[in-house]
Symmetry: C2
Subunit: 214 residues, 2 copies
């Protein structure tokens, strides 16, 4: 398997965690999203992903974009260890938590969005950081309420082993850290993150541990 | 089953299509996102969804937010007719197409985002519409390239029956129509949409056909 990745992409980070949890070996193909205007805009990369985004997983004939689609694919093709619980309601909860991050927080803080805010509306660094913090806070606040009040929450987002939800939570909190957003108001999220980052799968997936890290 | 919905929410629209395709009966609980500052901000709704978003599906003991998590849940609990193909690679493609809409287009054009742009940065109607069109065009352009160049594309996004991807595409194109965005550059998407909207499941799910439509 080959993973088109960028060390700082939190969507790629999710997939790296999932691959590691399932102990799947892969070749990392770094796509530098900033260098030379962005390697994702080359003609070669258009053939890999017309949407010009990372990550993309190549597995035999299959070329898959979108981090959650990749992780669901890995879950179906390599079921052990499972990243989704077995019961229908639990699977729905885990997917819902993951999507609450992947749809409600991360897309607003994407590199391409920050670029638009700068180039089209001349938003300065402080304004763009406040924009990012605003959406992260809104999303984390709702997540904290959900997890703190749910009997299914364990050492991880759902029960006592990592799931798809944890694959999304840890990269999102890493982004919060980069923006110096205090996590005091999200004790459940912080507790789960602190547990996750002790695991080798999460450690090896971290941005700083990637071959393309700067 | 009870679906918390708003006629104009494109995420709720996706779920309504899926429920109809599977011929599942449900009670619609309208949540008016604009009236009185937004019914999603009531204390009562906080118990349903701390994230203050629609849709939410209640099915027995399960309360599920996030449209794609709901549709995956319906797919697992009511497998016929399937909204995902059977082969791993095909399932990944359909999920990837759905996520390309749910993560890369829709979150940027959400009501809460448009409100931020107006209240915090004083962006006027024209600027906010151009913002919306920008992200829709970027997303649809990539989707058109993917679908036009893929042998799996049929009368629908994947093959000749509707899938999760079509549940997402049709509401997104309805949003494009509301913004008077021409679809000439996306002939494949338009052809698929034109086929979908002939089906009773899509007709009954449309915003204008809802009990809370204005």
């Amino acid at each position: 398997m080959r993973l088109y990745t960028y060390f700082r992409s939190s969507a790629a980070y999710r997939v790296r965690i999932a691959l590691n949890l399932k102990q799947l070996r892969y070749t990392a193909v770094p796509v530098h999203l900033l260098r030379g205007g962005g390697e994702q805009f080359t003609d070669a990369y258009a053939c890999v992903n017309p949407a010009r985004l990372v990550p993309v997983l190549e597995d035999g004939e299959a070329t898959i974009s979108q981090s959650l689609a990749i992780i669901e694919y890995l879950e179906e093709t390599h079921p052990r260890p499972p990243l989704l619980p077995s019961a229908h309601a639990g699977r729905a909860q885990v997917r819902s938590l993951a999507l609450a991050i992947a749809c409600d927080i991360h897309p607003l803080n994407n590199l391409r969005v920050l670029r638009y805010l700068k180039s089209t509306w001349d938003r300065d660094d402080a304004q763009r950081e406040e924009w990012q913090r605003h959406w992260i806070r809104a999303g984390l606040e709702a997540l904290e309420l959900r997890l703190a009040g749910n009997a299914d929450t364990g050492s991880f987002c759902h029960g006592d082993s990592p799931t798809l939800a944890d694959c999304c939570l840890v990269p999102q909190l890493a982004n919060a850290d980069r923006l110096s957003l205090p996590l005091d108001e999200y004790p459940t999220l912080r507790r789960i993150r602190d547990r996750c980052v002790q695991l080798p799968a999460f450690i090896a997936a971290a941005p700083g541990a990637q071959p393309d890290a700067e």
